[in-house]
């Protein structure tokens, strides 16, 4: 997305918006809950039926590298650059760890 679009969207929304929240330790379900926000596209528990990559059981560092590359616009994408920017690095770390553990 270009800057004009982003600004237009923010204005259309009429809100300055939030910055990504730091993940808090102590909630045993936080990683599970955050990962569930990806499941619409990547399949329940990261098991895709096709057309989008499965995330279940993928090496944590591989996932994190890709997510960070999306987040910094280094990896070309149709949508993941926009979605990954909604999460803090700590949250992405939790999410990558959770999907990696789904065997």
């Amino acid at each position: 997305m270009n800057k004009t679009n982003a600004t237009a969207l923010a204005f259309a929304a009429g809100f300055a918006g939030l910055s990504p929240a730091p993940a808090q330790a102590g909630d045993p379900n936080l990683a599970r809950n955050l990962s569930a926000t990806c499941a619409n596209c990547h399949g329940t528990n990261g098991r895709s039926l096709g057309g989008m990559e499965s995330l279940a059981g993928v090496d944590k560092n591989k996932l994190l590298d890709k997510l960070k590359a999306f987040r910094s616009d280094a990896k070309p994408a149709t949508i993941m650059h926009q979605i990954s920017k909604g999460y803090s690095e700590e949250q992405l770390d939790l999410i990558a760890g959770w999907f990696a553990a789904q065997k």
């Binding site: 997305m1 270009n2 679009n5 982003a6 237009a8 969207l9 923010a10 259309a12 929304a13 009429g14 809100f15 300055a16 918006g17 939030l18 910055s19 990504p20 929240a21 993940a23 808090q24 909630d27 045993p28 379900n29 936080l30 599970r32 809950n33 955050l34 569930a36 926000t37 990806c38 499941a39 619409n40 596209c41 990547h42 399949g43 329940t44 528990n45 895709s48 039926l49 096709g50 057309g51 989008m52 149709t78 949508i79 926009q82 979605i83 990954s84 920017k85 909604g86 999460y87 949250q91 959770w98 553990a101 789904q102 065997k103």
Partner: protein, 425 residues
């Protein structure tokens, strides 16, 4: 009248061993117990039912009440109207929920008693709950359009805004329309279900006309000040592909309909069409009204965004299009699915005597087809803002496609397959 008892439920739920295989690893044993009744098996309700069972590892009983025998998706239904997909391809059965031990009841809820924590079905059966999830979708405010406020009129002037029989009926009207005819689409004032949906529909009908009835026109009569969603992208797509076919008129709110003459009555104008398609103004589904949960503008249900619990009645959680939305939050199937997961996590905490998570997040994506292959999206990520006590869009995240493209045409269909499985598979 009878109650569904626990043994009957457990029989329906299947063996514990089979269940463990579904729940996967990495989840600590849940202490949650009790009975959750979910009313409405759409994008929100079906997802909630499945995730409550999956995340509780079967320790919470879940009954899903749905009036339709099968789920028919609104997203992708505009492709059926354009003749690019069949109704069968956007229809999914409820069988998949059996393996999670969701007890399915096909029926209509006629009364909800929040104090007694029980509800009554049209069959006369009653059900009681520890927590109730209401995912009733929308109902149409036909009383604001007197000419359409009867069943016969509604069979002629279609909405096709709930997928199913109306989707096919609109397809037939378009097929029967002679070349050179006018298809007029009336868009209600926001908020309504699926903000980009009307503009996607206009695009796809124009695409169908271009292939099959090239002298025909698409006229959009929009009650809003301007195109509500993906404005620049739709305008560019229309200029590039449908110049001379699509005409867009802003600030053209429908006041009434002359059904016999297929005429839209606006404030200062009357527009006669060959096919008139009216998306009526909407409010939360009727059962929310009966249950006393509609507390915003006599239309929507406001909720606590940490749990989706109604602000009008304790112990009842409202999902999806029926909710009064948080800032910049659209009424979409994707969003309803996310509401469902937020609610499921919160309900399991509450049933285990714990507070819901204080940092929920939800994501939205709406893919729209501008022809049979090219797609544009709008996406947003929303996080809880403790000060404002609502979900707010995350700064710097989300956005739009740069242009219609075929790659996202493939992703849109993959999205549909995966989200249908996420709720029902």
């Amino acid at each position: 009248m009878r109650q569904f008892d626990r043994r009957e439920f457990l029989r329906a739920a299947g063996g514990a061993g089979a269940m463990a295989a579904l729940y996967g690893c990495g989840v600590a044993g849940s202490k949650a117990s009790g009975h959750v009744v979910v009313v409405g098996g759409g994008y929100g309700g079906a997802t909630a039912a499945k995730y409550l069972r999956m995340w509780s590892q079967g320790s919470v009983e879940v009954t899903l009440i749905e009036r339709n025998p099968r789920f028919v998706s609104c997203p992708i239904s505009n492709l059926v109207i354009a003749g690019e997909k069949t109704l069968a391809e956007i229809t999914v059965g409820y069988e998949g929920l059996q393996k999670y031990g969701v007890k399915l009841v096909h029926g209509d809820v006629v009364a909800v008693d929040a104090d007694r924590r029980s509800l009554k079905l049209a069959s006369g059966d009653t059900l009681s709950w520890d927590r109730l999830v209401l995912a009733p979708g929308i109902d149409f405010m036909y009383y604001s359009l007197p000419g359409l406020d009867n069943a016969a009129a509604q069979e002629t002037i279609l909405h096709a805004w709930k997928a199913g029989a109306q989707t096919l009926a609109l397809r037939k009207q378009l097929q029967a329309m002679p070349d050179g005819g006018i298809y007029a689409l009336c868009v209600p004032k926001a908020p309504y279900r699926c903000p980009p949906g009307p503009y996607e529909r206009a695009s796809l009908v124009a695409w169908y006309f271009k292939q099959n009835k090239p002298r025909s026109k698409v006229l959009i009569l929009d009650a809003n000040e301007d195109i509500v969603s993906k404005r620049g992208l739709f305008m560019k797509a229309w200029a590039d592909a449908y110049a001379g076919i699509i005409e867009y008129r802003a600030q053209s709110e429908l006041r009434d309909v002359d059904v016999a003459n297929r005429t839209a009555i606006l404030e200062f104008d009357k527009v006669k069409a060959d096919v008139l398609n009216v998306v009526p103004p909407q409010r939360a589904g009727s059962i929310a009204l009966q249950a006393g949960l509609i507390d915003v503008n006599q239309r929507w249900c406001s909720v606590d965004w940490l749990s989706m619990e109604s602000t009008a009645a304790r112990g009842i959680h409202v999902l999806g299009d029926a909710c009064f939305p948080a800032p910049a939050m659209p009424k979409s199937g994707h969003m309803a699915n996310q509401h469902a997961k937020l609610a499921a996590a919160a309900i399991l905490n509450l049933l285990a005597g714990q507070r819901p998570s204080d940092q929920p997040m939800v994501v939205n994506t709406c893919y729209s087809f501008v022809d049979n292959r090219n797609v544009i999206h709008v996406a947003s990520v929303h996080a809880y803002d403790a000060q404002a006590r609502t979900l707010q869009p995350v700064k710097g995240a989300g956005g739009l496609s740069s242009a219609p493209n075929e790659m996202e045409g493939k992703f849109a269909l993959a999205w549909a397959r995966n989200i249908w499985a996420d709720m029902l598979g």
